[in-house]
Subunit: 319 residues, 2 copies
């Protein structure tokens, strides 16, 4: 029997919790606890591709770039390089911790991390309306200076009066490099780590050269595209809530454990899911189902181990 293939997207608190400062010890411990829960899928015979977020880590890398330029006049790297750096650091950490989790369970499986470029359309409409806030909070003067020096665009910060943050476009992912290799390695039984942080953002110019894109790609949309392109059977988003809710945090809040495509799309369009948080996750799950995937799951990592994992979206309602 052919093993099932699943893509598991580790997000947010899977690697680093909001109340932590981000030392490597904290990141390693969180990662270990998260990966421990994936043993269940491995024991069920799944082949796995792991994707991951990079929010806090690339945020720190951007801040260090700013500090390095100010203190030591070290040239700042563009966003694509910062994302690639974060894929190296986080991917290595996940690979190493996964090897140790497997070792402790006596499971003989290999783990490999691929630095992954994700392609956007150079004409994506997001380029004319940058919305994604990245890096440090600048004063008006600093922001003006950086705009002049580097062409960066800024928006006023809502949480900090007088604060400005750099904004970059967040175009949708349209292609991913090295898909056949990622699929083959996973189908051979390797645990493959790929497309971290939404992927290193690139686009093709008119000469078919690959050019860096100064953008951030939503990691859930990139993970969903990866899952569709490698022909995964199931797509898991591990986040900080155990279920999908409608009327979330309202008196008539309702857990949705089993959902079908149509109802979920209706809930999305009705605005049940927070923009920039749950909404892109739902969209990613729906894309996967629309492209032929069998099941999308949104839940917390530990829900996998208790085998009653969170909210499951399928094309037709299935219990």
């Amino acid at each position: 029997m052919k093993n099932k293939l699943a893509v598991v997207a580790l997000g947010g608190n899977a690697l680093l919790r909001g109340d932590q400062i981000g030392t490597i010890d904290e990141q390693e411990e969180n990662t270990m606890l998260t990966l421990e829960n994936l043993i269940f899928l491995i024991n069920e015979g799944y082949n796995l591709v792991i994707t991951h977020g990079n929010g806090p880590q690339v945020g720190n890398i951007l801040m260090r770039n700013d500090a390095g330029e100010q203190m030591y006049n070290i040239a700042q790297m563009p966003v694509d390089i910062c994302v690639a750096d974060s894929q190296g650091g986080i991917g290595y950490m996940i690979e190493r911790m996964f090897r140790n989790v497997l070792n402790r369970h006596g499971i003989n499986k290999n783990v490999i991390c691929i630095v992954t470029q994700v392609v956007v359309d150079g004409n994506d409409k997001a380029f004319s309306d940058p919305q994604k806030r990245i890096g440090k909070i600048y004063t008006k003067d600093e922001a003006d200076r950086m705009h002049e020096k580097k062409g960066w665009q800024f928006r006023e910060e809502v949480k900090v009066e007088g604060g400005f943050r750099r904004v970059v476009p967040s175009p949708v992912p349209v292609d991913i490099m090295n898909i056949p290799i990622i699929r083959d390695l996973a189908m051979q039984g390797n645990i493959v780590i790929a497309a971290g942080g939404g992927g290193v953002p690139v686009y093709f110019d008119e000469k078919k050269d690959v050019r860096p894109a100064e953008v951030v790609i939503d990691k859930d949309l990139a993970s969903s595209l990866l899952a569709s392109m490698i022909g995964a059977d199931e797509f898991y988003i591990l986040t900080d809530v155990p279920y999908i809710y409608i009327n979330y945090k309202k008196p008539d809040e309702e857990i949705k454990e089993f959902l079908n495509y149509e109802d979920t799309l209706k809930y999305l369009n009705e605005g049940h899911f927070a923009k920039g948080s749950m909404a892109p996750k739902i969209e990613a799950c729906l894309n996967f189902i629309k492209n032929g995937g069998k099941m999308s799951v949104i839940t917390e990592a530990f829900k996998l181990a208790d085998k009653k994992y969170g909210s499951k979206i399928t094309m037709e309602y299935e219990k």
Copy 2:
């Protein structure tokens, strides 16, 4: 006929020249010019694995970590994570530039970058005598504070009076993760980028867990080990001199274009090659030959394209 397999180690000025400040534009242009020279090997039918140095880049990452902690109190990452970051950033850049060079030559080949852990022996004698200088120059007071806070070890800097630099061990590489995958991908015709910066340094503890090593592995020794382990036919080190010299920069300086194992080992033992610079390159080349490799080459990148590439070391003298 089976294609030949070569490992090409890009070092020093292949990515960034000493007189440059290290903007991404400079790095991309240098990388492009270097890779252009590898087209000759591809047209000759070689399968390629590319390794690379990370000296200036990881130096900048370490400095940014220092600055980020001082200015924004962002937790510093350990050396293994910094090396992994540099593998992501540099590896992605090489992959992207290589795709563009291939595109311009109308060559249909794929490029892939693997984040690579390189294993050292936890009991390597280098651990008791850290020699490799990394990161910024500290004052005595700063160095004392960092020693107390993080346990870092320091040595007085020779070039800057009153300056101290952090030193870490540089143990020899003994194993490399994911060798079968790197070999298979290369033999299938993919250009594989691996083991950048000497590899992300790790060791196995008594429970067989993989642990991070706060060390720097010599990139030429790691590249040579990789070449031997994947069964490469030839091993190229691209550096900033076109040939191996004896009596270098002396009146009786002599270019050595064809060398055999025994003579080269003799020259090494006679001290003809600078420590920390040419000596480890020669050692890496000799290791490759000793382990069954057919030919090691040391030269400048552009010498490949003119087909009269630099100095060639073989077991028996061959012209």
